[in-house]
């Protein structure tokens, strides 16, 4: 285990440097990209703070749609298997398996919960709009 500052604290330091030091002292393209880079770091802080909880919610939601599966312990394995499970879900939708009423409603509720989590990381302002 590394010493403090932890990952979040270091990301905050770099984001602060981009926003407070680089932005005001640059113009045009460079300034724009400094803003984008700073926003990316803030997004990563939100992602790191919520990833465990969000992956668990997505996993449980897919359990209800695709059938229960044991979640691997490590985050990396969970991510890889989530991709596979979403691939299965995509294939099922493409084949018409999500056209019927009860499944479709459950599917939309799941997708809404997942998208809410994803946007809470990538663009919280959009969710705040309603």
């Amino acid at each position: 285990m590394q010493d403090r500052p932890n990952v979040d604290e270091l990301l905050e330091a770099v984001a602060g440097f981009l926003h407070d030091d680089v932005l005001p002292n640059t113009t045009g393209r460079l300034s724009f990209h400094a803003r984008v880079a700073g926003n990316v770091l803030q997004m990563l802080r939100r992602e790191l703070a919520t990833e465990e909880e969000h992956l668990q919610r997505e996993w449980t939601g897919l359990d209800a749609l695709l059938g229960r599966a044991d979640r691997p312990q490590s985050l990396a394995q969970a991510r890889a298997q989530l991709t596979e499970r979403n691939q299965a879900l995509a294939g099922l939708i493409r084949a018409g398996g999500a056209d019927g009423a009860p499944f479709r409603e459950a599917l939309f509720a799941h997708l809404r919960a997942v998208m809410r989590d994803k946007l809470g990381v990538s663009n919280p302002g959009l969710l705040a709009e309603g």
């Binding site: 724009f32 990209h33 984008v36 880079a37 926003n39 990316v40 997004m43 991709t83 979403n86 691939q87 879900l89 995509a90 939708i93 493409r94 018409g96 999500a98 056209d99 599917l107 939309f108 997708l111 809404r112 998208m115 994803k118 946007l119 990538s122 663009n123 959009l126 709009e129």
Partner: protein, 341 residues
């Protein structure tokens, strides 16, 4: 092209076209980059029979000789000319290019103003413009849709729907293929949207000239409102409702509360469009094109992120666009559930 090539070529070209004794090209500046198109700004001082006139203009050209181009790009001058002749608010076309640069080019009069969507939506100096722009957009769109093929034979080369097929089908197939080839992750919401689009393909009673990219970002505006509709390279023959649906796509609202370009009410826009002589508004077809438009933009965000992932670009901007795909999925969920605004 480099500035010297452009300056030397333009000096002779403008002299030819204007019948001038002498031409001086001043204030030549490259406006935008990008692999698809070069845009240059210049002033031409034209001396003719003892008088001097200065024309403020734009030079648009393809960047690379011999590259396959598309009809809308080759015909951009003719499109702007047809729009101008029909009373659309566009920059005045000056002269279509010839062979001297080895790439397709044309010139038009320069229209000063703002194009950034967020400025129209939020800028304090654009309070009056926000009131006027929706109606002006509706009026220009109605006039675009009335450009007659008969009056502009060149435009017959623009792509159009295959006989007996929905005008949406070819495009839908194109973006679905791009998605299936490029997407690094599965997107269940895009699957729902592709399926919905295939099940709701619109038939179109009458094929008209469609701008193809009619949205905030492609409009020059000032404090008094719309000054010019630009970027005609995606123009084609098709469903007039396509332009209306695309104008309502969430990403082109730039955070604005209103659906039409972020600043216009939906029904008021429809009324203004019909009052200006537009085709009969079909809300179902508009819904199709709006949903399809969000899907199309969603697929484009993936292909842009893939330019980064494949190593073709190192841009942090392109990389981060991959995280904007979720916004289009959120909007698609709303539209699929009939919860759009």
């Amino acid at each position: 092209m480099d500035a010297t090539t452009v300056r030397e070529g333009l000096t002779l070209f403008v002299a030819d076209k204007a019948g001038a004794d002498e031409v001086q090209i001043e204030n030549l500046a490259r406006l935008s980059g990008g692999a698809s198109r070069e845009t240059w700004s210049f002033d031409a001082r034209i001396s003719r029979g003892g008088t001097v006139e200065t024309i403020e203009a734009i030079f648009r050209c393809d960047p690379i000789p011999g590259q396959p181009t598309m009809p809308g790009r080759e015909l951009e001058y003719h499109l702007i000319k047809a729009a101008w002749d029909n009373g659309v608010v566009v920059p005045e076309p000056l002269w279509d290019g010839d062979d001297r640069f080895g790439v397709k080019f044309f010139t038009m009069r320069r229209v000063p103003g703002e194009t950034l969507g967020g400025r129209l939506v939020r800028g304090e100096q654009y309070t009056a413009a926000r009131e006027l722009v929706p109606q002006q957009l509706a009026q220009s769109l109605a006039r675009i849709h009335h450009v007659a093929a008969a009056g502009h034979p060149e435009l017959a080369r623009l792509p159009g729907p295959e006989p007996g097929k929905s005008p949406a089908l070819a495009e839908l197939d194109h973006y679905e293929q791009a998605y299936r080839q490029a997407a690094p992750n599965p997107h269940p919401i895009f699957e729902l949207a592709f399926r919905w689009c295939h099940q709701n393909l619109p038939d179109v009673p009458q094929s008209v000239l469609v701008h193809g990219d009619y949205r905030l970002g492609n409009f020059i505006f000032g404090e008094e409102g719309l000054r010019g509709v630009i970027d005609w390279e995606l123009a084609h023959w098709g469903d007039p409702m396509e332009d209306i649906g695309w104008l309502a796509v969430r990403s082109w609202r730039f955070g604005g509360k209103q659906p039409m370009a972020g600043v216009g009410d939906r029904e008021a826009f429809f009324r203004a469009y019909e009052a200006a002589g537009g085709l009969p508004v079909d809300r179902e077809r508009i819904r199709f094109w709006e949903l399809y438009g969000n899907l199309r933009w969603g697929v484009i965000t993936i292909t842009q992120a893939v330019t980064y992932l494949s190593g073709r670009s190192k841009s942090v901007e392109l990389a981060s666009i991959g995280r904007r795909t979720a916004e289009t999925e959120w909007e698609l969920l709303n539209l699929l559930e009939g919860k759009g605004d």
